[in-house]
């Protein structure tokens, strides 16, 4: 837990103070790291019989969890829209419908609603991913083992998968994977739908 925050802060410090690193695109390195991590996690879990028994047992649950997570997130956006006079309820729900899938959701939103909304969607969903990345162990402690999967949204199939398996346990890996997969497919459709009402 503290190790994670320290490494994150060291990363921020390095990026901030070392001149040649500025403007460097890290997305490929991050992608390779995530792919390797996912391979290693698969390798550790592959021989684990419990994992496969879990999918057979919980078919309904594995589909309902991502759907409810999306509904909860959009509802939160609608509630938050009351606070901000410059964001109507459609705009607010667009931000929370991103489910951490910041690359795609921010591109879709900025294309129609401009850079301000695009950046807001980007930052809010990056933060969502970061919070899960840094605080998964705490989420498990206070809200149960399913909490980081619900919180992680579309990112639970790649970026946050390692930390979720670490904090919730190996038997939550498949659930996280399916959750992220379903949401990654649903988020673009939902955002496209919401955008038809936005102005």
């Amino acid at each position: 837990m503290f190790g994670l925050i320290i490494f994150f802060l060291v990363g921020i410090g390095l990026g901030h103070f070392i001149e040649p690193l500025q403007g460097f695109d890290f997305s490929n390195i991050i992608f390779i790291t995530v792919s390797l991590l996912v391979f290693l996690i698969g390798f550790s879990a592959g021989g684990n019989k419990e994992v496969f028994e879990k999918i057979k047992k919980d078919k309904l649950k594995t589909i309902l969890i991502p759907m409810m997570s999306l509904v909860g997130s959009i509802t939160a956006g609608l509630l938050i829209s009351v606070i901000f006079s410059d964001l109507n309820y459609i705009r607010a729900s667009l931000i929370t419908a991103g489910m951490g899938y910041y690359s795609l959701s921010s591109i879709l939103v900025s294309a129609q609603l401009g850079a301000y909304m695009g950046t807001l969607v980007l930052m809010s969903n990056i933060l969502r991913e970061l919070i899960v990345l840094l605080f998964s162990p705490l989420l498990v402690k206070y809200f149960g083992k399913i909490a980081p999967i619900a919180a992680g949204g579309a990112t639970t199939m790649d970026v946050t998968l390692p930390i979720i398996t670490k904090s919730s346990g190996n038997d939550y890996m498949i659930l996280a994977m399916i959750n992220g997969l379903i949401l990654s497919m649903t988020v673009p459709v939902v955002i496209g739908f919401l955008l038809t009402f936005a102005n």
Binding site: H16, F43, L64, I65, L87, M99, L120
Partner: protein, 90 residues
Amino acid sequence: MLIIFLSLASGLFLGFVYKGERLKSYSEAITRIMILLLVGLMGLSLSSNREILHNFFDLGIKASIFAIGSIAGSITAVTILLRLLERGEK
């Protein structure tokens, strides 16, 4: 996305075929180290992106409220779902 899936599938397959314990405990140790590296890289990519950093304080508060709110909403909804499913099973 395809590559991530292939990585997971090949890892699962190899883990399924390989029955030994030694390599697996190594891979768990490497996983732990790589998670730390990944988080460091995230910080690095965030702070090396001037555009994000420049707008960070303008939009930061709004974005934080939405991020925390959406997480709270999702956790609440899923927790309610699990309670309902548990009650259904009894």
